[in-house]
Symmetry: C2
Amino acid sequence: MEKKRKLGRGVAVVGAGMSPFGMFAERNSKDLFIEAFREMIPSIDKGFQPNDIDALYLGNFTNDFFVQQSHWGAILVDAIGLVPKPATRTEGACASSALAFREAVFSIASGFYDMVLVGGFEQMSTQSTEQVSEGLALAASPFERQAGFTFPGVFGAIATAYFNRYEATREHLMNVTIKSHENGKLNPKAQHQRTIQEIMDSRLAKAAKNGWPIPDWQDEKAFLADPQANPSIAWPTHLFDCSPISDGAACLLLVGEELATSFSETPIYVRGLGQASGRNLHSCADLTSLEATRFASREAYSMAGLTPDDIQFAEVHDCFSIAEILAIEDLGFFAPGTGFQAVADGQTRLQGSKPINTSGGLKCKGHPVGATGAAQLIEVWQQLRQTAGERQIPSTDLRFGAAQSMGGTGGTCTFTILERR
Amino acid sequence: MEKKRKLGRGVAVVGAGMSPFGMFAERNSKDLFIEAFREMIPSIDKGFQPNDIDALYLGNFTNDFFVQQSHWGAILVDAIGLVPKPATRTEGACASSALAFREAVFSIASGFYDMVLVGGFEQMSTQSTEQVSEGLALAASPFERQAGFTFPGVFGAIATAYFNRYEATREHLMNVTIKSHENGKLNPKAQHQRTIQEIMDSRLAKAAKNGWPIPDWQDEKAFLADPQANPSIAWPTHLFDCSPISDGAACLLLVGEELATSFSETPIYVRGLGQASGRNLHSCADLTSLEATRFASREAYSMAGLTPDDIQFAEVHDCFSIAEILAIEDLGFFAPGTGFQAVADGQTRLQGSKPINTSGGLKCKGHPVGATGAAQLIEVWQQLRQTAGERQIPSTDLRFGAAQSMGGTGGTCTFTILERR
């Protein structure tokens, strides 16, 4: 990974759209993708002709398993009226549409295509929780599954190792959750749009109204510490540490750099790309750090000629609270063993020095697996364009933002740095 | 599709390997992929360091469905000892590893990577025939499935339409089968390595030995016409018109053009690429031609500056006999409605003017879905390098060969032209 990567032709993002994320019994992947595509159209400041799209790249984790339909490329290109344009699906578990984004970049940078649509989608909520757990476990290594792990357990083991090594406790996981809910409240597309305080207040009100015993919750942490309110899933992973089961779709429009200002007042450029694979958990020397995130980010920083300090904010893959703490360390934002304290100090809040997961993260925005990588990049795009609404980062000088995606237990990681010039 | 495609940097194939194709109860996808990778190593004439591989692209259709394991990129990169190199899976039904090949080309042509491993794999035979049919049907359009179609039926309908429009009959499908088995006999990796004549003779010998009634088979066509020997699956598709259930893996090594002669005495260059999507069958104006094949091939010919007549031989996606006839017409090798006659005249045989599926095709080489696209390109690579052994095309001046891959009922098609300089 010591080579310095480069692209023969620059690439820019000139449009983006996403469906709401949530549980939608009445809408399937096709409906949600069409919704994302239609929302994208007005985001292209100077307009475009859909027929100028040369190709589609679509990330999806396992709709073959979840909804017994594969080969979605052909279905979705038809759904938005673009036959015979080619469509290629990528899969890398929860990083699936982050991979689609990379392939779109390569296809343009190679000179082959000029305008490419990148999308991601997943339909999960038609499944039972058990079926979803079974489906998600397909992304874990065979060894993890044979050991009886599903993902809450894997990340519970990682959190335990982290607690054991550093001074962290469950309270530090709670800080991540509380922050995510504060951001999610400000995101109209998010699946969970209430702060922990609001959830707590509504439950207290309900108890009072029904004449039930009033829980003794002094603050948000007391609420999260109550096993009735926040049951253990796989210690120390509790319900409010877990990203939800979600449906959703997201898409972005990419063009060759020299074409960018023909479509957008404020194009956002691809500045750095990195991707790496990680070992199965049982053969990792250290559970408190994921090597694929380290390698992927090093590659992207090197290509961009930037350091972690240059990245002003980031979306990271917080499938579980502990994953966010690991990510902000592995990406070099905070030294190993200090991430939990940085969160406690508020540094990763919207007003902090390094805002993380301003979208609400997977935890609150939702985690329709195949859509997640694309949606993370949309958040970065919106923040850089200063169009993130109520959750806009206060700085008016945002130049560099990034997104980290992860598949499985760090089996696949990507890191993508976007730039506003 | 009127744009003329080009690549900013040329790409060459400098190595290839594949496992045998067949039904291997004792070997899983990982074993088969390792076998393909190990076979590739000595094919790189001047040697290479595996650690110089920058990334992997892996085509797989639906091992999540077939063997309840997804996220194979991370598994296989570990299996060949290349962690933390990135691995990206592509899926486009039966064209999955043809898509992987394209992404590898783009990633090198973009300047990002220099050396990329492309692979494909599928493990099917651990499933019952019913489960495989169900799995494969995930690649069909939802409309086709809801109408009760599985693939033999879909291609049966296509054959019926073709028979209705032209002068073709079942006998013309048999010509494809007989030719495929002749080539398969010469391919030591093929799942079926006997000619129809040999299969017939062995059954006659068995009947004689056991004192059974001796069937009155005057020739191969009489054998194929006998419903006992060759039962109907979905008329006019009979058993010997169908590609088999297979396990297998294949891989190729690609490098930037300027590096090619450092690795290979006879590098084979990527001359043309095309990909397109097709409509669901129910909304096609014409069942006797697949638009995605037409568009994909037009794009590749335009990029290559070549015509169908320049392509000296090709591997095409003969999932069923009729698909081969459609392909050789849609690719422009023969005029619409004349492909069946060209096959009857022997033009597509190994010694013919346009050899098709010298490998034995999906029918005889085998069709481990995710490996098929890569394996087709390996056959073209070997023929161009004059290393195809007994099935080598007689011409000593082979310059241009091509492979057509298809996913679903023409939902995804690719066409790739390779060149020996």
